[in-house]
């Protein structure tokens, strides 16, 4: 895959995540005990030997710079390729223009400079450990201009309403692409990941920019069906589409299923992230932990069940944590009870405080908050 460039483009959906995204873009959401969402996209690409990766950052760029820095955890701290971060370009008097097309345009020089002739574009809020080597081979062998990656998703509960739905002919060429409204249980779910020839990409981007419309690459692709050879590659693994609080919560708890965590964490390459030098986790004599993922650096004295515990969390004596996501360095003090909740980092739930959300909508505690009974 020497000749493929990786692009991570980011949607404008921060507002779907309430206080969790007050200070971070969606792709920086903590996930799976010690990661950020974006780690999965980057690691997947690195594991398939992409050596140049560009991330179009959100507006709240400081957390991104701190986490990704020079790309060292992904071995992307290279002199001649590696990780490139592009902050949104502000237009005079207009703020940041809508959509990713204008951002691609403003960094045209970068695309001209890199040697790679093909591009993989993906959205970091879709979690899918695609065998990119195989998918790329399909893209190259089929001599397509664009190969879209999709998943045959079954959705009985309407969780995937408003996702992209694709219609394909027998040879997997794209007929049409639209919005899933749930008329069929199983549909071809476009997971916002695509290979494009670089010249095709640049043509789409420039023509769309000149016309002023569409604003998003994905819409541009859909407008060019018929004019270009666009086909599709089926991904058969586990997909998460993280588009709001509920899907974020569910995607985390899905990791407690053994087959899901095997695929996400172990098969087809490691997931890399910034390391923190935490010691092992210590379980006291009184601890009682079941069906949970626990990161390092925790001290667990109480009861933890069906939960995701991030690095450096403390769960006090007789405290109970159930069906919850507890982020980095948060303290659940003695006797506190936390059920169906998401507690952002460095928060404190004081002694004997009870908090509980419903499984349909978790209770959220903002970072650095100190929740007391008063």
């Amino acid at each position: 895959m020497d000749s493929c460039l990786g692009i991570i483009t980011t949607g404008d959906i921060d507002f779907n995540f309430g206080v969790l995204c007050n200070h971070r873009p969606v792709y920086m959401l903590p996930f799976g005990g010690r990661y950020r969402l974006v780690d999965f996209a980057i690691s997947n690409m690195v594991n398939h030997n992409l050596s140049t990766i560009a991330l179009y950052t959100g507006e709240k760029i400081n957390s991104t710079m701190d986490h990704l820095g020079n790309g060292e955890p992904w071995d992307l701290n290279r002199r001649f390729s590696g990780l490139f971060l592009f902050a949104p370009m502000v237009e005079k008097d207009q703020g940041i223009p809508l959509g990713d097309i204008s951002q691609f345009c403003s960094t045209e020089e970068f695309f001209n400079r890199v040697k790679e002739e093909n591009i993989l574009v993906r959205h970091p809020n879709y979690l899918a450990k695609v065998n990119l080597t195989e998918a790329y081979k399909y893209f190259i062998d089929s001599e397509a201009d664009i190969t879209l990656i999709y998943h045959k998703s079954k959705d009985t509960e309407g969780k995937l309403v408003n996702c992209n739905k694709m219609y394909l002919d027998e040879e997997s060429n794209l007929i049409d692409i639209g919005i899933n409204l749930g008329t069929e249980e199983t549909f071809n779910h476009f997971i916002r990941m695509a290979f494009l020839k670089k010249d095709v990409f640049l043509r789409l981007v420039k023509e769309s920019r000149e016309k002023g419309d569409p604003k998003f690459l994905i819409d541009a692709i859909s407008q060019y069906r018929g004019k270009l050879k666009i086909n599709a590659y089926e991904f058969k693994g586990h997909v998460e589409s993280i588009k709001d609080l509920k899907s974020y919560y569910d995607a985390n708890l899905n990791l407690l299923k053994e087959d899901v965590s095997k695929e996400v964490f172990y098969e087809g390459g490691q997931v890399f992230t910034k390391t923190k030098d935490e010691p092992s986790t210590y379980y006291t004599d009184e601890s009682n932990v079941e069906n949970s993922l626990v990161a390092n650096g925790c001290i667990i004295k109480g009861k933890v069940e069906n939960s995701i515990i991030f690095r450096g969390v403390k769960v006090g004596e007789n405290a109970i944590v159930k069906n919850s996501i507890i982020m980095q360095k948060t303290q659940i003090q003695d006797g506190a009870i936390v059920v169906n909740s998401i507690i952002d980092k460095s928060a404190t739930i004081s002694e004997k405080v009870n908090i509980a959300g419903s499984s349909a909508m978790p209770y959220i505690v903002e970072r650095y908050r100190h929740i007391t009974n008063d």
Binding site: E72, S287, A295
Partner: protein, 377 residues
Amino acid sequence: MDDKVVAMLLAGGQGSRLKTLTSKIAKPAVPFGGKYRIIDYALSNATNSGIRDIGILTQYKPFLLNSHIGIGSSWDFDRTFGGLKILPPFTSEDGGRWYTGTANAIYENIDFIDNLAPEYVLILSGDHIYKMNYQHLLDVHKENNANVTISVLEVPWEDTSRFGIINVDRDKRIIEFEEKPENAKNNMASMGIYMFNWKDLREYLIKDNEDENSSNDFGKNILPKMLDDGKRMYAWVFEDYWKDVGTIRSYWEANMDLLDEKNTLNLYDRDWRIYTKNKNLPPQHIAKNSIIKNSLVNEACDVKGEVKNSVLFSNIVIEKDAKINNSVILSNCVIRSGAEVNNAVILEDITIEVGSKIGTKNDDNIYLVSDEGILIE
């Protein structure tokens, strides 16, 4: 640190009393405490003490140590100027020379130290587990206007015959060395940590090298010679946790010590972290109906059975109905269903088969399990 200190870390030890633990690696590379290697303590102490330049003297089976240390980035030693250098033996026109003793290893690298032009040279060993701020040693060294300051600690009287014992006057000035004395006058033992003025050390290294009868060792040659010459030599008493894991039993004990919440080797102290090469593994998974009590568990473990009073390294599978007690299990082991493990140290990549049993809950032995079988100590 204000005044330039170069640390020289002796990491060539074979550690043969650790048996199969050191059959493929040098003692400083032996895994410890759930995720570390022994040398991490000295390296992290150096970083946390503000030391910027460190030379690692290697000789014996250095592969794993080299790849563990890498470019030193885990300890923030990957600097453009100075930083960490691994210093193996080398050849010159006169042919190659292996390091013949602790002092000789430093002698052969005089050029390395001269290039850095330090005021002080700190000699460390990669064999011990402790947390120490070397800045304190330097402060005392400077206050005393000393030529050398040696870090010492109180050992049990019955152990004095295993150590280099140091006798001091009331100002802690050293008046006598006793190398492994049968009847020690004192129970203050040298920890093998020396702060020298580089000018002094340099002079004595050169003299020592010219002396054909010398065994080129700090404890046996350099230090006694300096004392004979009336140099200002002081002791500094270290009062925290320190362990030389010289045997399998002391290795097992030191790991068990970590389970004691009152242990001063507090791994959770954010102001004095111990750094190590990070493997970037996923969180541990604790399954339904598993039991974990008073144990340290590292990343990527999958615990479905029972773990009590034990230290689990990374990527270990404890199957359903397996029972682990009072044991240290190194990375990548699998303990199959129904197996029972007591008082054991299990080396990397070992599978304990279904229903097998090692030790009993109350026996006094330590079991060292490697692919060469089980050694009982």
